[in-house]
């Protein structure tokens, strides 16, 4: 299935885009998605705390992803 991910902060710079599309296997877990993303974009690994929200709620590593899900990647931000 094809999913779309919206990126914020430094993740946007790492993707080179606000949105990316990814072809993944059906019903994979968030933990696997994180691994796939790090494989494709190694710089994400250095962020250490990589938060993923599904349908406007923080997702756990065990949550499953569905094709219709709205997925957001939220990295830590420090400026002030």
């Amino acid at each position: 299935m094809k999913i779309q991910i919206e990126a914020f902060g430094i993740a946007k710079d790492i993707f080179g885009n606000k949105y990316i599309e990814l072809e993944i296997e059906d019903s994979i877990k968030v933990a696997v998605l994180k691994e796939l993303l790090i494989l494709k974009y190694p710089a994400l690994k250095d962020l250490r705390s990589l938060a993923i929200a599904i349908n406007e709620s923080y997702a756990n590593d065990q949550d499953e992803i569905k094709e219709t899900d709205e997925i957001v990647l939220i990295p830590p931000v420090s400026g002030g």
Binding site: I10, A43, E56, Y58, V77
Partner: protein
């Protein structure tokens, strides 16, 4: 705390609002708020809280006003350059509202002074600009049983939330539930490196002031348990719900936050060279100078060398395995030091970082180049 006639007149536009009234204003008057950081976020937070009539406000900031602060830190004027922000802010805010009591602490919040400072206040506001301070303020709030109003910005985006607030569902989750561990040092740019649109901290700081007022007066619904994301480029707000992590993060005491965030102490590192030594190296053939900053930073000013984005350095090294030794530089020397510390053990050539970065080099050699 009852209001006198003058106060009633001053705050009349607020008093007329439904669900606010005398009671809301009296709550503001009897409350105390500690604002940590009087920069881009701190300026609007302070102005609105002083305007609204919070009884006591503490300002913690050990920094002085710089020329490149003026585009976004609108409390300060050109004549304030070089002066302590906490003192300048207090002076200006007193002129705006003499009835508010203001305590100034022209120091940086640290593990050693934080507990004592926080003990006098009801609400903490995180207007800082680095991860070490953000974890410190979060843990301080948890240990002191105080709500923390968090805000931070990155280029065109901002985040706002309310941590550790007593709600009907118990204490609201905190920063460590959002981001359990800090990113590797040097991976996330701050405003000095990544830049920030002046109006953005104005918006995010105003939202923080709003949350403080809601917490104190009990108006509406706060951002407890929700992370607000704002993107200025498409005017989009997103609210992400979050919960305490399982198992819960244990916070028992304040720790060394600079170490926790991997920030190098200012002690000399064997991987750094001074601007003086750097010039000698650059003149030798076996050394290559590499600038690892972002493209926009390079455009502002540079001291030569080849330009390789930090995110491309590893690929670059793989492709240039026969490269001579490399001297890396960035703006302040922070990112390049983190980089050489990371790669030093895994490559065969010698790598060094320019201590003090571009800024230190410009100062030492008194070059007529832009400092940012």
């Amino acid at each position: 705390m009852a209001l006198n006639k003058k106060e009633t007149e001053r705050y009349s536009r607020q008093l007329l609002m439904p669900n606010f009234g005398m009671e809301g204003q009296e709550r503001l008057k009897s409350s105390s708020v500690l604002v940590v950081g009087a920069g881009g976020l701190g300026c609007p937070v302070l102005e609105y809280l002083v305007g609204a009539g919070v009884g006591l406000i503490g300002i913690v900031d050990g920094d002085t006003v710089s020329f490149n602060n003026l585009h976004r830190q609108l409390l300060y004027s050109e004549t304030d350059q070089g002066k302590l922000k906490a003192k300048c802010a207090a002076r200006i805010l007193k002129e705006k509202n003499s009835t508010v009591k203001i305590n100034t602490y022209p120091v940086f919040l640290s593990t050693s002074n934080a507990m004592e400072l926080a003990s006098q206040y009801d609400v903490l506001v995180d207007c800082t600009d680095n991860f070490a301070s953000r974890y410190l303020i979060n843990d301080l709030g948890v240990l002191h049983d105080l709500p923390v109003v968090y805000g931070s910005v990155h280029q065109f985006e901002g985040q706002v939330s309310v941590f550790n607030l007593k709600t009907d569902q118990g204490l609201s989750p905190n920063y460590r539930d959002l981001f359990p561990v800090p990113p590797a040092a040097g991976t996330v740019q701050d405003c000095a490196e990544g830049g920030v649109l002046g109006v953005l901290p104005g918006i995010i700081g105003s939202l923080q002031a709003l949350e403080v007022i809601k917490i104190i007066t009990g108006l509406g619904e706060t951002l407890a348990g929700q992370l607000l994301l704002f993107d200025a480029l498409d005017n989009k707000y997103r609210k992400i719900k979050f919960k305490p992590s399982e198992p819960p993060v244990e916070i028992n005491k304040l720790i060394d936050y600079e170490q926790f965030c991997g920030v190098s102490k200012s002690t000399a590192s064997a991987l750094e060279v001074s601007p003086e030594q750097a010039r000698e190296l650059i003149e030798k053939e076996e050394w290559t100078l590499v600038d690892i900053r972002e493209a926009a930073e390079r455009e502002l000013s540079h001291i030569g060398g080849i330009h390789v984005l930090q995110s491309d350095v590893k690929t670059f090294l793989e492709q240039h395995s026969r490269m001579s030794n490399i001297l890396f530089y960035c703006r302040s020397g922070r990112r390049s030091l983190a980089l050489v510390e990371e790669i030093n053990d895994s490559i065969n050539i010698e790598v060094l970082s320019l201590k003090g970065g571009l800024l230190g080099y410009i100062d030492f050699w008194d070059l007529d180049l832009v400092k940012y």
